[in-house]
């Protein structure tokens, strides 16, 4: 078979420009966060600052308390949420994957229907605030993201296609209980699908700001995204934090608000940008997992 191994130079040029378009906004924000106050006022945001200054990062380093706390909330919610989500999702999917389970059809429909119809924002909001009284609690950030019908069906498809039923049968003939079969046979054999779904769930929790917007008013419980949202939408919020802090009190300089804002955006993007190129193949695999049927 003869194919040329050279890529058309126009295609290379096109993709260089395209990648640049994808990445340049991040570069702009990074550069703003590094621009000195005087250059910023004079020339505005630019892709290459006339004057570099690390003041914003120095501030974050010294007076990081509110940001660290927001980071902590995000990490806590993401870790707990992901672990619990994987257990709950896989346990439900395991029951649905068992051919001999008599209520399989009804239970599948129970899950499927949530993907077709929703009650809307108002009733959902009332259930969490007036019925469960979860406003201003971390549970309100964790519970809504725990279980999605789509993930249940992806896992169930994986269990039925990739785990030989004879394996489950023989384990149970040997006297293993359902719990044991699930924990020591099904889960260890399902690491690929757990990794894929786990990554989707991690990203969803890490990027979530909506549940905070709706349920959280105590600023001690702000997660990172919601903290960022507040500093962007509300300049006074950032000012209030900055005035409490004591950066460079000796030289009493004006605190670089704009740089600070953008520096915080950078430290929120950083974990995602550093980790995800390595995990990319799991995401791609997750996109191409087989048919999802109820």
């Amino acid at each position: 078979m003869k194919t040329s191994n050279r890529t058309n130079p126009f295609i290379i040029l096109f993709f260089i420009l395209f990648s640049a378009a994808s990445l340049l906004p991040f570069w702009l924000i990074l550069m703003v966060s590094l621009t000195g106050q005087n250059a910023l006022v004079k020339f505005g945001y630019s892709f290459w600052p006339k004057e570099f200054d690390l003041a914003a990062y120095r501030f974050l380093w010294h007076d990081a308390e509110p940001i660290l706390r927001a980071y902590g909330v995000s990490i806590f919610v993401t870790v707990i949420g992901t672990v619990v989500s994987l257990f709950v999702t896989s346990a439900l999917a395991y029951t649905l994957s068992r051919n001999d389970f008599p209520f399989r059809g009804a239970l599948s429909f129970y899950v499927l229907f949530t993907m077709l119809f929703g009650g809307g924002l108002l009733p959902w909001y009332l259930v969490y605030t007036k019925f469960l009284h979860l406003n201003d609690s971390l549970l309100a950030l964790i519970i809504p993201g725990l279980l999605g019908g789509f993930n249940v069906f992806i896992m169930r498809t994986y269990f039925t296609t990739s785990i030989p039923p004879s394996l489950v049968d023989s384990a149970q003939i040997d006297g293993a209980s359902e719990y044991r079969t699930y924990f020591s046979i099904v889960l260890p054999l399902s690491l690929p699908v757990l990794a894929t779904i786990g990554l989707f769930v991690i990203v969803a929790y890490w990027n979530d700001w909506f549940t905070s917007l709706v349920f959280i008013s105590n600023d001690k419980l702000y997660n990172l995204q919601y903290f960022l949202y507040n500093t962007l939408m509300n300049a006074q919020y950032l000012q209030a934090i900055a005035s409490k802090a004591h950066i460079d009190s000796a030289s009493d300089r004006i605190l670089p608000m704009e740089q600070l804002q953008m520096a915080m955006a950078m430290i929120a993007v950083l974990p995602v940008a550093m980790v995800f190129p390595f995990l990319q193949k799991y995401f791609v695999k997750g996109l191409t997992v087989g048919a999802v049927k109820g």
């Binding site: 295609i11 990648s19 068992r98 009650g119 924002l121 959902w124 019908g149 003939i173 804002q261 791609v284």
Partner: protein, 322 residues
Amino acid sequence: MQMDQPITASSGKVRTKSAHPFRKLMKYHALWILALPGILLLLVNNYLPMFGIFLAFKSLNFSKGIWGSEWVGFDNFKFLFMTNDIWRIIANTVLYNLVFIVINTALSVLLALLLNEVKNKLFSKFIQSSMLLPHFISMVVVAYLVFGFLNPDLGFINKSILEPSGHEAVSWYMSPTYWPYILIIVNSWKSVGFGSIIYLATIIGIDKEYYEAAMIDGAGKWKQMTKITVPFLIPIMIILTLLSIGRIFNADFGLFYQVTMNSGMLKDVTEVIDTYVYNALLVSGDTDLASSAGLLQSVIGFILVVSVNLLVKRISSDKALF
């Protein structure tokens, strides 16, 4: 417990003859317990709110409580349609989604076709990483990135493009005319890379023999692309488009709320059903409008999803949701 009847206890092929319903239930109690947390979560997060749709027929008054509030029949809907806002909001929601579907599908397919021509593995991986990155950041961060360009005082476009070239600076967050374009660009920037990866996976899955046979017959690159690759992509294009049409009544809340910074001046061109319901509920506190608009969205969305699914099923039964 399973030691008593080791064979019948588990196997899918060997069924117990005992049909006593209680024994049947007990036999599977472990599977029920495994499923229980999931069942409860769906109950709280999905089914309880579904029962809450009756609120659209009440005038909600928190001092009287949910049960004490008055039944008003279809009055909430009457008010909703009397405001005249609702038609503009529905039009915004549907039109933006239609434009997103057309542009994103065209660009994703084009990118996937071109990406398939990139021979260097490392370069290809770099392109894929950089075009996927926008998909994995939150809309809050996207709002920051957009603000970097559009900040009226210091933003890149005003300070580095418009002012140096002698144009007047634009107060972007107060000028509705530009926002349809801005939102379309931001949406494509965020989602096209992800879409093209799906199409690329389909292209990679095409049997190489087709191309070999085509080359023997003297078909060039262009012929191969239009006569083999594109026909293979069309079914998946149709299916993904239909699935998006099923969700045409649901807007991307983050895009319309965060990226516009919820600016009131832009409402005419940026308000969609989701932001309308949110603002009615949590900003102006008008729960009657929020519940009726929300129910309208849920019902139309349900009808659309179910009908679209029937269509998808006729094209390719294994891509259908149910």
